[in-house]
């Protein structure tokens, strides 16, 4: 019974190993191992609460902005601030729009595409345009030099690559365009926030600066270019890939519970009213969306490298953050993981301790189930385009996870202008306020949830003696890449991998594809 270990899982943020047990050509059991620990929550204790968001955004350099934003809101709640000035709300939405703008493009092309697009095969294409001919000659020079750079050593001869040479060349050219477009979105983020990654201008109570008209115009111009790429390149690409790789709709059904904290505040600043609303779907019942509660999240550590919490799940602020590393099993040999095997803790929801899938698929299903008009029409149209009219449940699959990221990007670029217009309207009405100063109180506690591009993200803060007494972040990793919990229930990725076919255990491309659908 071969054990298949992928370590490192490349094209992700951070460090990940995945162990699978493969039998008769498919995965029968799986374990994910986050192999990095840095101790943010320990480091953040006893510091100035106003600085928390700057620490917190270093949790992830791919998605620092949602971390910064969520952390600032958690700090505000702990400080007793329930709402920020309307302009701050809008500027924060603009930050998120530029961030989503970059992130899903980066994921689809740079982190995911090589699972489906065969780079060396692009040399067999017969391009007719000068641009594609030029690209092909550059690729040929790279191959002939013997220095393949980032394309070296991959399983390019795997039979799972199904595109024609011309399609492969075309997608390699989109890959390179995508690098440029993600830069444009990030330039806009930097223009309004100083730099990217690691934006500078949040502050508990609002934003450090109002935006100048020129900055708003820059943002609009950048988002127009991103929208053009999404509408004319990215969405068509996913619609072209889907029929070729339609088998992915049969794989990777997952745990069937979906969690979203919501994205883009409207003027009410209520999570349930967000453009992509907060909500959760249990047991695949799409039409029955419930409101999640940040204080119903529990953390389990039986299989994680932290002190055990006496067999019970704890509120994030009270869960163990005390590292107790044991060991990773060797890659070779038959030894399977047992005991503690992961730096990620297991997040579970509510009384039933449910594992929840987070991410764009959860966001889109919750918005769809909540009847958000724009999402309903977008999803219905996409289902029709891939020949699955009226069957939203086909989205609960590997293919659905890919499609949902692209649709979420589409929603994002369609809404991006609205924030600029709202801000200009407020300015026109004489409302220039972006910040409301409040002193750090002696004590307080707060939590905030948001949908980062990777999925449900929550931050929690307790203030004691005017300093950070306890801090906890529950990013999508703690949901999607959770290890088994104290009842040995598998996390979503572990569950999703079971049943995935493996044509060749030496080159487990299908496993890699499934992992990447979670943007781990």
């Amino acid at each position: 019974m071969p054990k298949v270990v992928i370590d490192p899982v490349t094209r992700i943020e951070g460090h990940l190993r995945v162990t699978c047990q493969v039998e008769d050509g498919q995965v029968v059991d799986a374990w994910n191992h986050a192999t990095q620990f840095r101790g943010f929550e320990i480091i953040m204790r006893d510091r100035d609460p106003r600085d928390a968001w700057q620490f917190a955004q270093r949790i992830c350099g791919v998605c620092p902005t949602p971390h910064a934003h969520t952390s600032v809101v958690a700090t505000e709640r702990a400080m007793g601030i329930e709402r920020v000035p309307d302009n701050a709300r809008i500027i924060r939405n603009m930050f998120e729009a530029t961030h989503v703008g970059y992130d899903h493009i980066l994921w689809f092309y740079l982190l995911n595409a090589f699972d489906y697009v065969n780079v060396p095969d692009a040399l067999n294409a017969s391009p007719t345009t000068p641009a594609l001919q030029n690209l092909q000659s550059q690729l040929r020079a790279v191959v002939e030099s013997g220095q393949l750079g980032p394309f070296a050593g991959h399983w390019w001869d795997h039979p799972g690559y199904l595109l024609e040479p011309d399609q492969n060349l075309e997608l390699v050219s989109h890959y390179l365009q995508a690098i440029e477009i993600q830069q444009i979105s990030n330039d806009a983020q930097a223009r309004i926030g100083g730099r990217f990654p690691m934006v500078m201008s949040f502050i508990p109570g609002g934003m450090q600066e109002r935006l100048e008209i020129e900055e708003i115009q820059y943002y609009i111009g950048a988002m127009e270019r991103v929208k053009d790429f999404v509408d004319n390149v990215m969405v068509p690409d996913v619609l072209a890939l889907a029929p070729v790789y339609i088998e992915l709709a049969e794989q990777g059904q997952g745990v069937g519970n979906y969690l979203s904290w919501g994205l883009y505040d409207d003027a009410s600043q209520e999570p349930a009213n967000r453009v992509l609303p907060s909500g959760m779907i249990l047991d695949r019942r799409i039409t029955d969306v419930q409101q999640p509660d940040l204080n119903e999240v529990r953390m389990f550590t039986k299989h994680s490298w932290y002190a055990d919490d006496a067999g019970q799940g704890r509120h994030p602020l009270d869960a163990s953050q005390d590292p107790q590393y044991t060991e990773l099993p060797p890659i070779e040999g038959e030894t399977l993981p047992s005991g503690k095997y992961d730096w990620s803790t297991a997040a579970r929801y509510g009384e039933r301790n449910l594992p929840m899938e987070a991410g764009p698929l959860a966001d889109m299903l919750v918005a769809y189930g909540s009847g958000r008009e724009q999402v309903v029409s977008l999803v219905d149209q996409t289902l029709a385009d891939i020949g699955a009219e009226g069957q939203p449940q086909v989205l609960m699959s590997n293919l659905g996870r890919i499609a949902a990221r692209v649709l979420r990007e589409k929603v994002n670029v369609d809404f991006a202008y609205q924030w600029a217009q709202e801000l200009l309207d407020n300015y026109g009405n004489g409302d220039m306020q972006v910040y409301d100063a409040v002193d750090v109180p002696d004590s307080g506690e707060g939590a905030a949830g948001w949908s980062a591009p990777r999925g449900a993200l929550a931050h929690y803060m307790r203030i004691e003696g005017g300093r950070i007494g306890a801090y906890a972040a529950v990013p999508p990793t703690n949901w999607n890449l959770s290890p088994r919990d104290d009842d040995d229930v598998r996390g979503p990725l572990e569950q999703t991998l079971i049943g995935v076919p493996v044509e060749d255990p030496e080159r487990p491309l299908e496993i890699l594809r499934t992992i990447h659908t979670f943007d781990p």
């Binding site: 992928i6 370590d7 490192p8 899982v9 094209r11 992700i12 943020e13 460090h15 192999t35 620990f37 840095r38 101790g39 320990i42 480091i43 510091r47 100035d48 600085d51 270093r58 949790i59 350099g61 791919v62 620092p64 740079l110 690209l135 550059q138 030099s145 750079g149 980032p150 394309f151 070296a152 050593g153 399983w155 690098i179 330039d187 930097a190 223009r191 926030g193 100083g194 730099r195 990217f196 990654p197 690691m198 500078m200 201008s201 502050i203 609002g206 934003m207 450090q208 600066e209 109002r210 935006l211 100048e212 590292p323 590393y325 060991e327 990773l328 060797p330 890659i331 910040y435 487990p508």
Partner: protein, 368 residues
């Protein structure tokens, strides 16, 4: 001159020279330098092989590298360097990726770029393919042409090394010196959080053009990039001199008038970095456009330069209005010329804290 060159196939002569001009500018070489850069790049027989290791990371430095503009990332990857191992963008995974690493590092010359800190207190806090960061350093440092610490984590340990440093995080040079048994390690530090892609490209080109690594300051940073403070190159500096300070976020004194951010926490006067000259993200902005500098290029800034929104430590300045920058520097006891020469900037900041705040300096690692 032909339209296309061997090493830069597909690039027009015009674009190539534009690129060389930009690089020469970053490197401070001027007009004559452009020709030197061009001929060195043209003469290179093969693209320099780059191996990029990620240790305790957030991946922000890799994402910042993807924002590099001159050259475009396309030209960078296809023409200037051979990015042979970089786990965020490489196609191969698992044992196939490790096989690539083995082949490159056992074969030809390679430059070794490190992102992230070395976990020395809990070695298992970071493993890749089952190997700890310490094991990877021990193997690759002796083999590499040159070791470049990309970003503040690889340079000084950075946020992981902040109090109380739960994993014993250290920068590469500190690890090599203290635990790796290398008396005098050669590591080029390119701090900032995240590291800036332009710094890396300029440093690699510098090595190619000059056949040697650039001169380094007392904390391991190339002097040609990190020779001036943020304050030296700041567009708000006139307001500082004139005593016009932002007192409160969000009012017109910051966004519209660009008054000086010193009183709301700007660490520009104590921070050596080129941000004001080579801006961020395609040159559209930099931190001080929208917020006070946090001093992210300085060792231990998470402990030494926080709280971020309080005035830099060292007490109130007597007669602040109208004093010169040099007087302010002396008033703060910060590293000006003397401090830099004697101890290096980081040391000067630390000793200031030790004496001024009466607290012992932290020594878990992270410095240099």
């Amino acid at each position: 001159m032909s339209e296309e060159m061997s090493a830069f196939r597909g690039v027009t002569r015009r674009d190539f020279l534009k690129y060389c001009t930009w690089l020469a500018g970053v490197m401070g070489l001027g007009e004559a330098g452009m020709a030197r850069v061009a001929s060195a790049l043209e003469a290179a027989a093969r693209r320099p092989s780059v191996v990029w290791s990620s240790f305790q990371v957030c991946t922000g430095c890799a994402i910042q590298l993807l924002q590099a503009r001159e050259p475009t990332v396309q030209n960078l990857i296809l023409q200037q360097i051979s990015l042979d191992y970089q786990d965020n963008v490489m196609a191969a995974a698992g044992s196939a990726a490790e096989e690539v690493l083995r082949q490159v590092t056992e074969g030809e010359d390679f430059y070794w770029v490190v992102e992230g800190s070395v976990a020395t207190g809990i070695p298992g806090a970071m493993t890749v393919a089952g190997r700890t960061s310490m094991e990877v350093v021990d193997e690759l440092y002796p083999k590499a042409n040159a070791t470049i610490a990309m970003g503040s984590c690889a340079a000084y340990g950075n946020i992981q090394a902040a109090r109380p440093n739960p994993t014993g995080a250290k920068g590469i040079a500190a690890y090599l010196r203290e635990d790796g048994g290398v008396a005098d390690p050669v590591v080029v530090n390119l701090p900032r959080c995240p590291g800036h892609g332009d710094d890396l490209i300029a440093t690699l080109t510098y090595a190619l053009v000059n056949g040697e690594l650039p001169e380094l300051d007392a904390v391991g940073r190339p002097v040609f990039l990190y020779g001036q403070t943020i304050h030296d190159t700041c567009f708000r500096r006139g307001h500082f001199e004139a005593g016009r300070f932002v007192e409160r976020f969000g009012d017109e004194s910051t966004g519209d008038r660009d008054w000086c951010l010193y009183k709301v926490g700007c660490k520009g006067p104590v921070t050596y970095a080129p941000c004001g000259r080579n801006l961020w993200n395609g040159n559209v902005s930099w931190c001080v456009n929208n917020a006070p500098c946090q001093g992210c290029a300085e060792p231990d800034f998470w402990d030494e330069l926080t709280p971020f929104y309080d005035q830099v430590r060292g007490g109130d300045l007597p007669g602040l209005y109208g004093v010169t920058a040099e007087q302010i520097g002396i008033g703060l006891g910060i590293a000006t010329a003397a401090g830099l020469a004697a101890h290096g900037v980081g040391t000067a900041i630390r000793s200031r804290r030790t004496t001024r705040a009466g607290e012992p300096g932290r020594r878990e690692g992270g410095e240099l």
